[in-house]
């Protein structure tokens, strides 16, 4: 269970919005952070605090396969993204980086930016006293998420950790 302040984005938030191509070649994610979401909201990256969450509509993360997109969101300290649906490559990339994604059909239409949500993964999200049911990810994905991402899961496989 954790509490998180909501930042609200719309439908079809594509990977070029999450991180434009011109910043993909920075050698560290730290350098990319200020530019996250900049085509849409230039000041957003600077306002997101560790632990905050993003709530969005349909098809979050559509577009390119750039893994810098979920990495930069994770680096901003975002605790989870709750959307009506996610694009498939972004979905896999996020899990592989240990970023929690939750599909929930009703939350987006019923909350405002700045409100605070209580999130209990696998069970529910509560905002303004109202509960929204959420499911767990499939088992093979939970294993990757629980390991802290695919790199750590592979290190374990290779007998390193």
């Amino acid at each position: 269970m954790f509490e998180a302040k909501i930042w609200k984005l719309g439908d079809d938030i594509d990977t070029d919005i999450i991180l434009p191509t011109e910043y993909l070649a920075f050698d560290t994610v730290e350098k990319m952070k200020p530019y996250a979401f900049s085509p849409l909201r230039q000041d957003l990256a600077g306002m997101i605090k560790p632990g905050d969450m993003i709530v969005a509509g349909n098809n979050f993360g559509c577009g390119s396969s750039r893994e810098q997109a979920p990495e930069v969101v994770k680096a901003l300290g975002v605790s989870c993204i709750v959307a009506k649906s996610f694009a498939r490559i972004f979905f896999r990339n996020a899990i592989n980086n240990g970023l929690l994604l939750i599909e929930q059909p009703d939350l987006y239409d019923n909350v405002k930016e700045g409100e605070v949500a209580k999130v209990e993964p696998g069970k529910e999200i509560i905002v303004n006293g109202k509960s929204y049911e959420i499911a767990n990810l499939p088992e093979n994905l939970m294993e990757i998420l629980d390991a802290g991402g695919l790199v750590k899961a592979m290190r374990k496989r290779n007998g390193l950790d």
Binding site: D16, I17, P39, R66, R88, N93, N140
Partner: protein
Amino acid sequence: MGHTLIEKIIGKKVGHEVKPGDIVTVDVDWCMIDDIMAPFAVQKFHEMGFSKVYNPDKIVLIYDHFLPATQVDDSRHFRVADEFAEKYGIKSVHRTDGICHQLMTEAGYVKPGDIAFGTDSHTVTYGCVGAFSTGIGYTEMAGILGTGQLWIKVPETIKVEIDGTLSGNVTSKDIILRIIGDLTASGATYQAIEFTGSTVDSMSVASRMTMSNMSVEAGAKCGLFAPDEKTCDYCRIPYDDEMKALRGDDNATYSKVLQYRAEDFVPVCACPSLVDNIKPVSELKGTKVNQVFLGSCTNGRLEDLRTAATILKGKHVADYVKLIVTPASRKIYREALADGTLGILSDAGAIITTPGCGLCCGRGGGILSDDEVVVATNNRNFLGRMGTSKVKIYLASPATAAATAIAGEITEA
């Protein structure tokens, strides 16, 4: 019970029947890594603790997004990839040959029935030859480099049937844009698309590539065409019984079937700034443009350049309009040079660039600024894709692009 094409491809690979929703681990035939993602994949590979790659002959490195380099740090990507190739014995490194998705079939790697993953979302392009291919992130790519395997969920399939004869100024680009408009940008998420029908049968492999390439813009995991004689000629393999069996069965189960008459398609554009915001070109007439882009892995092939050259022959692009032409590969560049296509385009005032991703991903020559309008034959019109977030990008066919370049405003060919 019959099977869809994707169920057959995956089933053959894992050695048993599969159905949508099954999670299976597949052996990977081809890994494609592009220059943007190479250093990240290499870093993750080492963080994971691998000391060798699963098979150096199945890994292809292609430099295209940053070629030629436009920012001072870009060449680091080539250097890191070169060192990785050298250290692990990877021989297939294309340093200046063209766009990755063109090369993976053109250079003879991916064949019908193969499974390929690439570090770029338009890896779906190889569905044009009946291969299952899709984009992944660099961490998953690092995992495949070490293990040769990846888990996948068997997708449901949307069947798209198109029958009849297209009218002269309508191309496969207009078809796929219309389909994306009908499905929406998320309408095929987690699903495969299978394209069938007499219109599709009569298309060239190049035209099919355009449709497979853009299937991801509807969210699809892959966009497949059953291989036929044309496919096998292109892939330089015999059209045998194994190839003939690689098609969706008549009694397969599809999540959705879309049926179209070819005669009903008209030239269209995807309007700013969503790929599913589709309007007929006739409704956009009069929209002034600053630039026209003909190229990319979507529409940078010889037939696309020839279509444009037919329209531009003996004419000139409008004053103030920059027409930028980028062939998808060196092979295409050479062919278009040899048959006079590039000469016609140059005479008409085109700026012809080196093969690569360049302008399509906002890194190469031709970046636009606030309030400028571009008609482009590539695959994405996202905010900020080809310059600032106030650039208006209209996606269109090569024919529409050429006619627009002459008129200086959006025009039907």
